[in-house]
Symmetry: C2
Subunit: 406 residues, 2 copies
């Protein structure tokens, strides 16, 4: 009989100290049976990543990226060897591997490398010996034998990519929350755990601020249709399944409300109303290596219009510089900025075909005196840019209006 293959990923908070490592080991051993193979991907212990980064920045403000990867990849190597020890201590065979040993080949973009192929030969050999396999997350190796790291959320990506390469039955993401919630439980105490969510909905939730899994990993899971189970390291309760299609795809289902304060707004005023002007602006912005999120340009019947867009706060300085340059070149007016913004969003499949949803959202915000600054809609979400001070109030209002606590 073919054995079931389970990929499990434990984040940094799940292995923050020796006691937690032991608890994780116990949990893995309890799961291991004669009928399955288990591959565990593990992040660095608690604060290790921050501590290593601090060391590097004490040496130089601009650490070379190749050396940075050499440094940062040690965090996961430490945690995976410790976890293998803890499992062996409980009497089960285990073996740890670095990204390089597993043959996770990446491109050469140090600190944000992309996985190209996974060899995985040593994992299959370990399966034959009935060993639990522990893999250092977040890292790979180039064709030149240089160590790379995968950037933020890299361990999730390692887990999903391994699940794909090994044709795993499920990829379990263990975290410090019990699953995906209808909204942030710290803001709305009635927030409910979602049982099943689609990849697309989760992608919206992830990019809109629910920081459980990075969008990159969900995109890979979606592309290869790898079911993800997001669940708690500290409880045996079932978490949230992320799947291709929800059973209830035909009804409108608002899955959740998210909010994020990580963006800032830039407005180029009095832009000449000409064909191709937006293209000119945003090609300049993108040359500055800035990720633009929401763009709003009102239809204008005059000779000038205002164009607003949001960018991550980390890109703000670059973006402002680029905006000022292009504004001058196209003979537009002032460039204004607003850092005190928040985006609140509702996410759910099928909302496009049901016009009442947007109206209900705007109504709920209006009733709570929340002023809407910009609006953006997608196939499965509606987002409003509002003043950041009103973000929590808005989330509560929307959670209640769409009866998500029920």
């Amino acid at each position: 009989m073919k054995k079931k293959i389970i990929v499990q990923k434990f984040g940094g908070s799940s292995v923050a100290n020796v006691d937690r490592i032991k608890a994780v080991a116990k949990r893995i051993v309890e799961r291991k049976t004669a009928r399955n193979h288990i591959v565990v991907v593990v992040s660095a212990l608690g604060d290790t990543t921050d501590e290593l980064e601090k060391l590097a920045f004490q040496i130089t403000k601009t650490p070379p990226e190749r050396e940075m990867d050499m440094l940062m990849s040690t965090g996961e190597q430490i945690s995976c060897s410790l976890l293998a020890m803890a499992i062996k201590k409980l009497g089960k065979a285990a073996i740890s591997f670095t990204g390089k040993q597993v043959g996770i080949k990446t491109d050469k973009s140090h600190t944000k490398a992309r996985i190209e192929t996974i060899n995985g030969k040593c994992i299959r050999k370990a399966f034959d010996e009935n060993k639990i396999v522990i893999v250092a997350g977040y890292q790979g190796v180039t064709d030149d034998n240089d160590i790379t790291t995968l950037g933020r959320g890299g361990s999730d990506l390692t887990a999903v990519a391994l699940a794909q390469a090994l044709n795993a039955d499920v990829c379990e993401i263990y975290t410090d929350v019990k699953g995906i919630y209808t909204t942030d439980p710290r803001i709305v105490k009635e927030a409910k755990k979602i049982k099943t969510i689609t990849f697309d909905e989760m992608l919206e939730m992830a990019s809109l601020g629910a920081q459980i899994m990075q969008a990159r990993s969900i995109e890979v899971a979606k592309r290869f249709n790898i079911p993800i189970h997001v669940r708690s390291s500290f409880s045996k309760e079932e978490g949230t399944m992320i799947v291709k299609q929800s059973q209830k795809l035909e009804e409108i289902s608002i899955q959740g409300v998210t909010s994020s304060k990580s963006d800032a707004k830039i407005t180029i005023c009095a832009v000449p109303n000409q064909t191709g002007i937006a293209a000119k602006i945003f090609s300049e912005i993108s040359k500055a290596d800035v990720n633009v999120d929401i763009i709003v340009q009102n239809v204008s019947h005059t000779k000038h219009t205002d164009i607003s867009f949001t960018v991550p706060k980390s890109d703000f300085t670059k973006a402002m510089k680029a905006a000022n340059i292009i504004a001058k070149r196209i003979k537009a007016g002032n460039v204004t900025q607003d850092k005190d913004i928040a985006r609140v969003s509702i996410v759910g499949s099928g909302m496009r075909s049901h016009h009442g949803i947007a109206a209900k959202m705007f109504e709920a915000l209006a009733k709570n005196k929340v002023n809407i600054d910009m609006i953006s809609t997608s196939e499965i979400s509606i987002s409003c840019i509002i003043n950041s001070k009103q973000a929590d109030k808005a989330v509560k209002a929307l959670h209640t209006a769409f009866q998500l606590g029920k």
Copy 2:
């Protein structure tokens, strides 16, 4: 013109913190010219090794050795990437490599692996690009791609082995002392730095307690005739050169006085005086995996004799057990023990051919009322086992008697 190749090794105390790493980087950069290539081998930052070991032992009292190597090797990976950053910050090109990347192939004896071959291709490539090369010490890789570590003093071994593989002109060992001294300056303040010492003398010094370099590394340097320069990380002063032959090999030169309290003495009393009895005893002891150091059996004209030997304190329990078993089997008497012993030694080439040396040593000890318990001589050393309380007094007396402070 062929460029000079210099291998430098910096120990853990030389890179204990960010400031020291920066100081080491400065020193390396000052040394780098258009006419040389520099390879730097670096140990783990200060306490890192101890901290990692502590983590492992908090998980299990018997960490599997393969996982232990996976864990411990991260210490040097951290320091070599940080050092490469610090050098780049000073404007010189640098690149760091793990033992694996350099192609340091070892056998499979995890935690105490032996180097088999060094490929070094990536170092020669880095030389072509005029980069300073930083190599993580203490580690290698097996044919199966498993990470190994080389055991105590492993970084010295990496440096010497690289010097051999690259046919380097010199291997510089940077440490927290200024070189090899005639004796421990903490005991005798008149102790003088030795300018030149032979490999053989240094081997005696090392195994007899001068803890600058492990015997393994010196043996390799001797075999391949690699000149070693032991010097301080914190001063530009010349240190001690370790070479094949001293210029003054024809005269008797007492190089130094060493002492060590790491051994214990075991005596099997009333051993039947038969041919082959010593072989019986010590084959039993060696089966218990104990390193026996000095053995003394007096010529006896009676039917019984006492046999005494010293063993490292760490092997003491095993050794006593084995001694008791064999004593019973060969119908010997009691087994007695003495842990309060010290070994004081004088080391120098050519002492065998000059009988006055031993007499002078015994006289100096007698004059200071130091009782000699056992005596052992080699080609280039004479050692006496004495009471540990008298060790410092004995070292001082010998240092004065042989005029080493002059």
